[in-house]
Symmetry: C2
Amino acid sequence: MYNLYYWSHIQGRGEFIRLALEAAGADYVDVVRRSEKRGGGRAAVLAILQGNDPRAPFAPPILEVDGEWISQTANILAFLGPRLGLVPKDEASRRWANQLQLVVTDFLVEAHDTHHPIAKHLYYEEQKPAARKRAKAFVELRLPKFLGYFEGVLARNAKGPSWMVGGELSYVDLSMFQVVAGLRYAFPKAMARLEPAHPNLVALSARVAKLPRVARYLKSKRRIPFNQSGIFRHYPELDR
Amino acid sequence: MYNLYYWSHIQGRGEFIRLALEAAGADYVDVVRRSEKRGGGRAAVLAILQGNDPRAPFAPPILEVDGEWISQTANILAFLGPRLGLVPKDEASRRWANQLQLVVTDFLVEAHDTHHPIAKHLYYEEQKPAARKRAKAFVELRLPKFLGYFEGVLARNAKGPSWMVGGELSYVDLSMFQVVAGLRYAFPKAMARLEPAHPNLVALSARVAKLPRVARYLKSKRRIPFNQSGIFRHYPELDR
């Protein structure tokens, strides 16, 4: 049994954990989405962050398992991967999966900072001129660089271009699906232009969406819709 | 024997790997700092990044060991930690170390982006107004938040406040030393103001600097000086 602690109103970084748990059919509670009466709500996260535990995490997502708190998306996935059968058994492949997940981590900061280039505590509307410039550089240079890298990983995979790591589904594939979904929401024009040059990535995204457990999850109320509070936000003026 | 591939003119993210290798007295080559004749130079990194290897990394630092390339700072340290005796043996402590290292990773992006809030490919001089605003938010809010967290980890450590993870030196301590050193170079005024409230962190930094192997390394030519090309840059107008 896993307890996931993450903000209840956004997909955010928590979604990469939710997707792994859902794809594996794991037994978990999305704690913050429960009512406060039942120990949920925002207070459940704040109690951990503001508590005095020797190993209190810096920020959510946080996975609680057997009394241990595990934080940082890639760290949680490196822990869950072997337990959920979402990473190959050999150590070199696990390092490779972790490496790719950390590229995703880097990418998410850059995607987020297109709308928040100055400060997280300010509204988008307070940093629009800088956002416009940062989004331009992102769409023209950084987005193609990251997508090109991920496409290359699939194209060069010795086990074929179906999956990112080896010949089976791993948590990295679930993350790639989420990256593509988020980009399509936030930057529909840029993605329409870039997708044809990244056929393996587009096919991977469709393949993941059709996995029975993932498909059921995406149709369920457990999947929070994209919105203007998460990592991926759709501001037409930032999309070219 | 380890081969490290990282840019030769900056400490950057490579320094977190160099410090681990040096503190453990490991046998390694800082490949790019060798002459091109001897297989070094920038070309050595570019050959990996632009090559067609199925597991080509996205970016340096890259550690080459037994024919495997391992990239992403935290991923390299998670690999080296057990081999170099720089992390406790139990899995929960290793996850905790990795978690803390990933907080450092997040922090480094924010420290870097104070001088490059708009785009990596532009000069600082081309993004000064945004840099001034981002640095203000960093110094006033983000820097105290991160330093306060790291100080709290030391203060709450069940084995005492000498080390970040358990009761012995780990790679996380080496990274904390580097973070403090970088901040003192880039933001001397802000750090002079903040240090008194973070006594355990300041003491840890001094403790690491005095480790015999680290002390020798810091005095050697192998330690590249801080400069205006790395993560930490000193622009007086960004320091308050």
